[in-house]
């Protein structure tokens, strides 16, 4: 057994080293992996640079405002109507953003980070809403987005199965093409062991290459040091995906066909699982649950907002005080300017609850669309794998939904702070002004993938395992009938 094992290792080594095309395929794969890691790291660098710019912009504005406090002024000299001791101006000058910070693994799984915005303004009086986050895709080159990103997930999800195909498609089938299979069987102690070893060697070799790329990616991005557990999960899921494809291709080879037929079947599987199924699932789900023209959102942002701004203030005071039992309407009639500011905040609070409602609906429709996609997960391994890694790296839609919720919470928190300050009917002092900066956490959203991810991949692996057994049985029965091996 051991000598067979060693002989087969030597044979596989020779088979690859003597085949220029296979050698080229391995080199191309590794080159693509290195390029993907570099490209992902470059993307994350730009992302981080944006956050630095954002921070310096906020700091500049805050410093200007704090300077006024220090000098005993309430605003710029040339605009004497600005008074940062009033809550609405304090809100404007207490510049703050909520930002999504890239996880170290984001360089290895870019996900949606070049499509969705990773930051938003925190303001309770400038119509800030979670939808205000500009759409980077519409300001950039959409043809670049269409071409797709070149990150490690793409290399592993798309290119790795093709490398496996190149290394595996003639395992056993070439012997069949050359009419050598009978000889192989007679000269081997256990034909099954021989076949298993031959089939598993390319799989283990590709798994080793995948691990090398993950290791380089982990070192280059600092993920091993910063988030070792997540990096480990990244490697584990990638290895599982590699073995899944190994199993699928082994099922094809177990049918006992010639090398060209095996290659055709393998390419068919790759096209099916990596190209047709993901695209078809997207098309089918989007025709069932179209995104359409965001009518509900646009209505809230315009018609309903104006209805609140122009409507009778008494209609909004009841729900406002009911939601804030710690507040009560002023006993004496305050100055006209204060009444006006109070009314403005009451209206903003009413608008905010509309925004919360529409944001909730938007998230629910996204979740139900993703649930519809997940129903096809067991035949959609490339997507399930990609999604798992993007969830780990905090660049998947679930991360952006959480980010949107954090934006909403931050805006609400800011709003409540302003309401408290306004209802005290005292000017906003420096401490209160500084406390407004604390709103808007900057954080990453990497997390463990949903449990369904593993079960979906396992279902497909089990199906491939069953198919391997079934094809093998059919082949044996055919060989017994025809006598042709």
């Amino acid at each position: 057994m051991i000598s067979t094992f060693l002989a087969l290792i030597q044979f596989e080594y020779q088979r690859i080293s003597r085949s220029t095309m296979r050698f080229v395929a391995i080199c191309v794969f590794l080159f693509c992996g290195f390029y993907a890691i570099t490209s992902g790291a470059h993307h994350v660098e730009i992302w981080k640079q944006s956050l630095v710019e954002l921070e310096s912009r906020d700091l500049e504005q805050r410093t200007e405002a704090l300077g006024w406090f220090a000098n005993g002024a309430v605003g710029p000299e040339d605009r004497d109507w600005i008074n940062i001791t009033q809550p609405r101006w304090a809100d404007r000058y207490a510049a703050a953003h909520v930002a999504m910070v890239p996880e170290p693994l984001a360089a290895l799984a870019i996900g949606l980070s070049d499509i969705r915005s990773s930051w938003a303004v925190v303001s309770a009086t400038r119509g800030a809403q979670p939808f205000r986050t500009s759409d980077p895709s519409t300001l950039g080159n959409a043809e670049k987005l269409l071409a797709g990103n070149f990150d490690l997930v793409f290399v592993l999800a798309y290119l790795m199965p093709l490398l496996l195909l190149v290394l595996m498609f003639d395992v056993g089938s070439l012997e069949r093409d050359l009419g050598m299979m009978r000889m192989v069987r007679t000269q081997t102690l256990s034909p099954r062991f021989w076949w298993l070893l031959r089939v598993s060697m390319p799989v283990f070799m590709v798994a080793a290459l995948v691990l090398i790329l993950c290791l380089i990616g982990g070192v280059r991005t600092g993920a091993i040091e910063a988030t070792f557990d997540q990096w480990l999960s990244y490697c584990g899921i990638s290895l599982g995906y590699t073995f899944l494809w190994g199993l699928l291709f082994a099922a094809v080879l177990s049918a006992g066909t010639g090398s060209s037929t095996a290659a055709l079947w393998m390419v068919g599987l790759w096209i099916g699982f990596c190209v047709i199924v993901p695209a078809a699932v997207r098309q089918v789900v989007s025709s069932q649950m179209p995104t359409l023209y965001a009518s509900e959102t646009t209505s809230v942002l315009r018609a309903e907002r104006y209805e609140i701004l122009l409507g009778n203030i008494e209609n909004y005071k009841g729900p406002f005080y009911a939601a804030r039992p710690q507040l009560s309407p002023p006993v004496k009639t305050p100055a006209r300017a204060i009444v006006s500011d109070m009314d403005r905040l009451v209206r903003q609070a009413a608008f905010m609850s509309e925004v919360e409602g529409v944001s909730q609906n938007l998230s629910e429709s996204e979740v139900s669309r993703e649930a519809a996609v997940a129903r096809f997960g067991w035949i959609n391994p490339a997507y399930v794998y990609q999604r798992a890694l993007c969830v780990l790296s905090g660049t998947e839609s679930v991360s952006y939904r959480q980010h949107r919720q954090v934006i909403l919470d931050s805006v609400k928190e800011r709003q409540e702070a302003l309401i408290q300050a306004q209802w005290k009917m005292k000017p906003v002092d420096k401490e209160t002004f500084e406390s407004l900066f604390s709103h808007g956490p900057w954080m990453g959203y990497g997390q463990a993938p949903e449990k369904g991810t593993y079960s979906q991949l396992l279902v497909l692996a089990a199906a491939a395992f069953v198919a391997t057994g079934a094809f093998s049985r059919i082949r044996k029965s055919r060989e017994r009938k025809t006598g042709v091996v």
Binding site: M21, Y35, H42, I46, Q49, E53, L54, R57, D78, R79, G111, L112, I115, S117, S134, S137, T138, L139, N141, A142, E143, K144, L145, L146, G148, F150, F154, L159, L162, D170, S260, V267, G268, I271, V275, I276, P278, R282, Q283, S286, S287, P290, T291, L292, Y293, A294, S295, T298, S299, L301, R302, A303, Y306, L310, E370, V373, Y383, Q386, R387, V398
Partner: protein, 477 residues
């Protein structure tokens, strides 16, 4: 002779169940994509109509706002789907569909499909353009990889050459047979598209017909290049397995790796400034203009003085117009220059990035085919930029009309106060999108046409003159 060899190859394909199955699968996928696309198109068109109706209803019910207030209230513009987007959705999923049209600011389109999808959106689209440009070349490569190699391995090629059949004719016969298959698929697709369009009552204008024809022609040319190269490689390489691997690596590099690398490269050669810098610079430049809402702005005073001189009066209260409307329009005109400068620079950079891709399409025919496919379907970046331009023009016209109404719709009362008239805003027309003609696509995509033709000439030359070193006898066995 070539025709006989063509028929012989077709017969050979017909007798191979695997190849027939592949062609049948390709045909089914193409027809399915057209059907699903048409269904999606119907839903999206209905959705757009409903959104437009809601928005218009909200517009017409404006009651208590001044003309400039209505400018702030604004309107929404909804991007229509191109009639051929069912064949190739192009950049549509990645670009915004809704533009908020309001005073003082040029908003970019928002609410793209991609912004509300998971990362599934990155795994390609299920449309005819993708299938024809991505998948069909792979299927053709898989059907043609053994076309000559198999004949050489079985000895048939030696027999044919010994009988005086020129090797060139063999390659031509085989190439035409595989191209014929792809023409059948492209033809079936176009017929299916027209039939579905007719069934749903969509008009088939001359422009759509021309676009359809060019869409089919560009894909057919690309597939011919793929077939010619596949057959030549099958002939040139000593065994079919090596031919298969070369074709697969070539497919992978040209359709999967190079497009992504090219896109990355283009953005590195011509980087776009970050969104934050873009917004900051615009804000800074905008602040240099006059501030229509700032009563103490010096530039505002200058304009006021000009208006007073123009009307030959000394005080604002003597003007027969509302100066507020005039100031707002002046402010708007300054803002427009700022938007033109900054958005223009950004669009120029994007155009340069696309230029890099167009240049590299001389190395990769897939890039040329993809660019042409989107352009003829009316779904490329250039067509999308036209929508943005038209919506911005509409915004400027709308805000000017509103500012003019703000300035003129009313009268000066005896006490010098301006009394506004009640305005019927429903008389202001909604946005109407003017689709681009096919000339627009041709004008912007000539590099891809040139690239595809160069590839075609090179492939034809290879097949015609590159037969000298083709082995007649196999060395594999």
């Amino acid at each position: 002779m070539i025709f006989r060899l063509f028929l012989l190859e077709l017969r050979s394909i017909r007798s191979d169940g695997r190849l027939l199955a592949l062609v049948a699968v390709a045909l089914s996928i193409l027809l399915l994509s057209v059907w699903i696309g048409a269904e999606s198109q119907r839903v999206v068109t209905e959705g757009r109509t409903a959104a437009m109706e809601t928005s218009r209803q909200q517009w017409e019910s404006i009651d208590r706002l001044s003309a400039h207030g209505v400018g702030h209230y604004g309107s929404y513009v909804y991007k229509p789907n191109s009639p051929l987007s069912t064949l190739d959705s192009g950049v549509m999923p990645f670009t915004g569909k809704v533009v908020r049209v309001e005073a003082h600011v040029q908003n970019p389109p928002s609410h793209s499909d991609a912004a509300s999808w998971s990362s599934l959106v990155r795994l390609g689209a299920f449309d005819a353009g993708t299938i024809l440009a991505h998948l069909l070349p792979l299927i053709l490569a898989f059907t043609a990889f053994s076309s000559v190699a198999r004949d050489r391995e079985t000895g048939l090629l030696r027999v044919l050459v010994a009988q005086g059949v020129p090797l060139r004719s063999v390659l031509w016969g085989k190439s035409l047979a595989y191209w014929f298959l792809s023409l059948l698929l492209v033809g079936a697709l176009i017929i299916a598209h027209i039939a579905l369009g007719q069934a749903s009552g969509e008009p088939l204008t001359t422009d759509i017909k021309t676009r359809l024809m060019l869409f089919g022609a560009s894909h057919s040319l690309h597939l011919l290049i793929v077939v010619l190269l596949s057959v030549w490689i099958s002939a040139r390489v000593s065994d079919s397995r090596s031919a298969l691997m070369i074709l697969m690596i070539a497919w992978l590099v040209t359709t999967v790796v190079l497009p992504r690398v090219t896109a990355e490269l283009s953005s590195q050669i011509f980087p776009l400034r970050s969104q934050i810098t873009f917004e900051d610079d615009m804000k800074e430049d905008r602040a240099k203009g006059l501030d229509g809402h700032n009563p103490r702005d010096e530039r505002r005073d200058e304009v006021r003085q000009q208006v007073l001189e123009e009307y030959g009066v000394e005080e604002v209260r003597q003007l027969p117009v509302n100066i507020g409307g005039i100031l707002m329009q002046k402010d708007e005109e300054y803002g427009n220059q700022v938007w033109d400068e900054h958005f223009g620079r950004r669009h120029d950079t994007v155009r340069k990035q696309i230029g890099v891709v167009q240049a590299i399409s001389f190395l990769d025919p897939f890039l040329a085919a993809r660019g042409l496919s989107m352009a003829f379907a009316g779904t490329d970046q250039f067509h999308d930029a036209q929508f943005q331009r038209q919506s911005e023009n509409y915004r400027r016209d709308l805000i000017k009309a509103l500012n003019d109404l703000d300035a003129k719709a009313g009268k000066r009362e005896a006490n010098g106060r301006w009394r506004r008239e009640k305005i019927d805003y429903s008389e202001i027309a909604d946005f109407q999108f003017e689709p681009q003609t096919v000339d627009f696509a041709l004008k912007h995509r000539w590099p891809e046409i040139a690239a595809l033709l160069t590839w075609l000439i090179a492939s034809l030359a290879l097949l015609h003159w590159g037969t000298r070193r083709i082995p007649i006898v196999g060395t594999g066995r």
